[in-house]
């Protein structure tokens, strides 16, 4: 590695670290009480700032180092005097932390970037000056300037004057227990482990033919170890949801302040782990949900008091694991959503027909429709509406589900049910014309044997299956995949899908269900219609993972399917 590369690595490493430190600092500020001075937290913040300053200087980001130094100085004032920070003071620090984060982002693409932190610095210095004049008149300005002078010149003195801080560091420096690993290396490892598992299955077959007692014993040990290795390596992709939840604290604080509402955010289950890829995707929708809960769900103070509710509203973010699913709930104690109001607004907007008969649940779900979120409706209705389609889309993309529970004047719970991992999903393996395909199990509502007497072919609607008094469109998987058609429907199985619409897909056979490892297809065959990925089955052969909704969407705008169907029947 030459010097230039070395420096680059060093700087990138610093930027990662800086992000982490800035987030920690933010968290500590959020944790600070308005009423009581906390030595521990204040010292922790001070340490963060001090570390950041030192590292920034070491890698040559002097603008940033100088700015952090100013933050440190402003902060030191509070720490020295044991003054409790007001919300307003905190705001100034939050703004500074945002500035740090922003500049790190810019540094990432341009190491030589220069920054002007003057406005932020002014804001910082204004708070301590104001504070100092509020304090006892005895030693105000003189003392503070002296204080600054000492630490400005000699950083070491700060450390030595704070022995407590150093003793505590073993507790607070948890990030040191981790190592950063390139995601591609983890993925490679998971690939090889997958191969190991397949080889293991092959060995088991061979062993049952030729094996003796001795090899049987070794084999059963190997099996245990292989399983352990597989579980561990899969676990490497899992990260706690905590950082996303913590981000919400800040958002709640800012929005509540802006809307002049008093909101307490509670977090439950922030230690729960889920796939990094899922976490990344779910972050923005959660922001939408929280924002909506404060904006539309939670009432103003006076209104809450009239309703005999506590004047401080609460929003709870809950993460939990339920039956192999990762569940995130956003619970508020606001005014709830009136499904009739939603329904009427949707009719007015032309989203649904005037004489559409919908269940309460269906009416509530209208808030997830894209065109529902217009300004007009938001002011008209008591419910939510902004950006909810983003939530619905994201959940669909992850093949999860979303559910609303609401009671007027008691509050609303929005429940996102997500796969814990994108790397492993539960799949239903089916065959058609001898090839195997996999549907995510989340898409399969049920599977039924097709009774020929109960299918009808119409020239306008295609095939229809009568299932317990319900008429469902029936599509043949062979035709959906442009293959030669399945000949007869006699012994076929229909997979019933109930997503935004209900329909059946006819397959030859259901092989079984399995936990499958999802593998991306190469870019030469990415974006095939209805194909969302591939996997390797227990027999060692690849199989394609299909998305029922995407396959059907394709047919909907495509006359070809019906032409092909007509040729068969």
């Amino acid at each position: 590695m030459n010097d230039e590369e070395f420096e680059k690595t060093l700087r990138l490493g610093f930027l990662d670290e800086a992000d982490q430190i800035a987030s920690n600092m933010e968290q500590h500020f959020l944790d600070l009480s308005e009423h009581e001075f906390s030595d521990d937290l204040m010292n922790a913040i001070f340490r963060c700032a001090h570390n950041l300053k030192g590292s920034a200087r070491a890698v040559g980001f002097s603008d940033l180092a100088q700015f952090v130094h100013e933050i440190e100085s402003a902060f030191l004032f509070f720490n020295e005097k044991k003054i409790v920070l007001s919300e307003n003071d905190k705001d100034a620090f939050f703004e500074s932390i945002d500035k740090i984060k922003k500049s790190c982002e810019i540094y990432r693409s341009d190491f030589s970037a220069a920054f002007d932190f003057t406005t932020a610095s002014k804001r910082l210095s204004s708070i301590d000056r104001k504070k100092s004049s509020d304090q006892s008149n005895l030693i105000k300005n003189k003392e503070t300037t002296n204080g600054f002078a000492i630490f400005e010149d000699d950083d070491q003195s700060v450390l030595s004057s704070k022995p407590v801080a150093q003793n505590k560091s073993s507790q607070d420096n948890k990030p040191d227990m981790y190592i950063r690993v390139d995601l591609s290396r983890v993925e490679k490892l998971i690939n090889y482990v997958g191969e190991l598992v397949i080889l293991h299955d092959v060995l088991r077959e061979q062993e049952s033919v030729t094996g003796n007692q001795l090899s049987k014993k070794t084999f059963s040990q190997l099996k245990k170890v292989t399983k352990e290795v597989q579980d561990l390596s899969m676990g490497l992709r899992m990260v706690p949801i905590r950082p996303v939840f913590q981000k919400m604290q800040r958002i709640v604080r800012d929005i509540a302040k802006e809307l002049e509402k008093d909101v307490q955010l509670n977090l439950e289950g922030s230690q729960m782990e889920l796939d990094r890829a899922v976490l990344e995707k779910i972050s923005d929708p959660l922001v939408h949900l929280v924002r909506n809960a404060i904006d539309h769900g939670i009432e103003k103070k006076e209104e809450r008091e009239k309703k005999n509710k506590s004047s401080q509203a609460s929003i709870t973010l809950k993460a939990s694991q339920q039956g192999g699913k990762f569940v995130i709930e956003v619970v508020d104690d606001g005014k709830g959503i009136d499904h009739e109001v939603v329904y009427k607004a949707a009719i007015k907007k032309g989203i649904i027909n005037q004489d559409a008969h919908l269940s309460i649940e269906e009416k509530l779900n209208l808030i997830f429709k894209a065109s529902f979120s217009t300004k007009d409706t938001v002011t008209d209705i008591s419910g939510r509406g902004v950006g909810m389609d983003v939530v619905a889309n994201c959940v669909n993309e992850l093949s999860g589900s979303v559910k609303i529970q609401t009671k007027i004047d008691q509050g609303t719970t929005i429940r996102l049910s997500l796969p814990q991992s994108l790397a492993i999903i539960a799949g239903m393996i089916v065959t058609v014309n001898g090839s195997k395909f996999v549907f995510p199990i989340t898409q399969v509502y049920e599977s039924v044997k097709i009774d020929e007497k109960k299918t009808k072919i119409t020239s306008t609607l295609g095939e229809i299956l009568l299932l317990r008094g319900e008429n469902l469109p029936l599509y043949r998987l062979s035709l959906l995949l442009n293959q030669k058609p399945q000949a007869e429907l006699k012994k076929q199985i229909a997979i019933v899908v109930r997503s935004t619409k209900a329909y059946c897909i006819c397959v030859d056979e259901i092989v079984g269900q399995a936990e499958i490892v999802v593998k991306q297809l190469g870019r030469e065959i990415q974006n095939l219609p209805g194909v969302v990925g591939s996997t390797i089955l227990g027999d060692g052969n690849p199989a394609l993972i299909l998305d029922a909704d995407l396959l059907i969407d394709r047919v909907m705008n495509h006359a070809n399917y019906y032409e092909m169907l007509r040729k068969v029947v």
Partner: protein, 160 residues
Amino acid sequence: MSEITHNDEADLRFICFSLGEEEYAIPLLDVREVIAVPEMIHVPFTPKHFCGVTNIRGQVISVLDIRKKFHMPDSQSSEKSVIICEFKDLVIGVLVDSVNAVINPKRSEIAARPVIESKIDPVFITNLYRKGDGVVLFLDIMKALDLDDRKAIDNMKKSA
């Protein structure tokens, strides 16, 4: 690449394979391995020369029939092989008749592509090399794919 641009002699190694009567070569450094024809799973919505996907040590890899791609007649050859090529962001298997040898020509022995009649759109051919009585055509597999396969699939998506 319209001509060989490698400047290191070690990079001037090519793996030769036959397609029918003709002999072709690709840079050895692009080749990850050569395997016997594996079991392949057909992929819907793909063009004719797309044989399918296969499992190579846990990785799902597409295999393409270069002969069908070039509209050459089916061969009777039984000893077919798949060359697994690894490019920057793409790993792909290429079905060929037989893998013959690794050659290490001198730079002076490599000639530019002349304007001649060929069964293949000559833009895939980067150079040629005289080997005894015969001639070896240097093939740019990436170029072949970029020009044709991706387009074919994109078109399919449009019509789908």
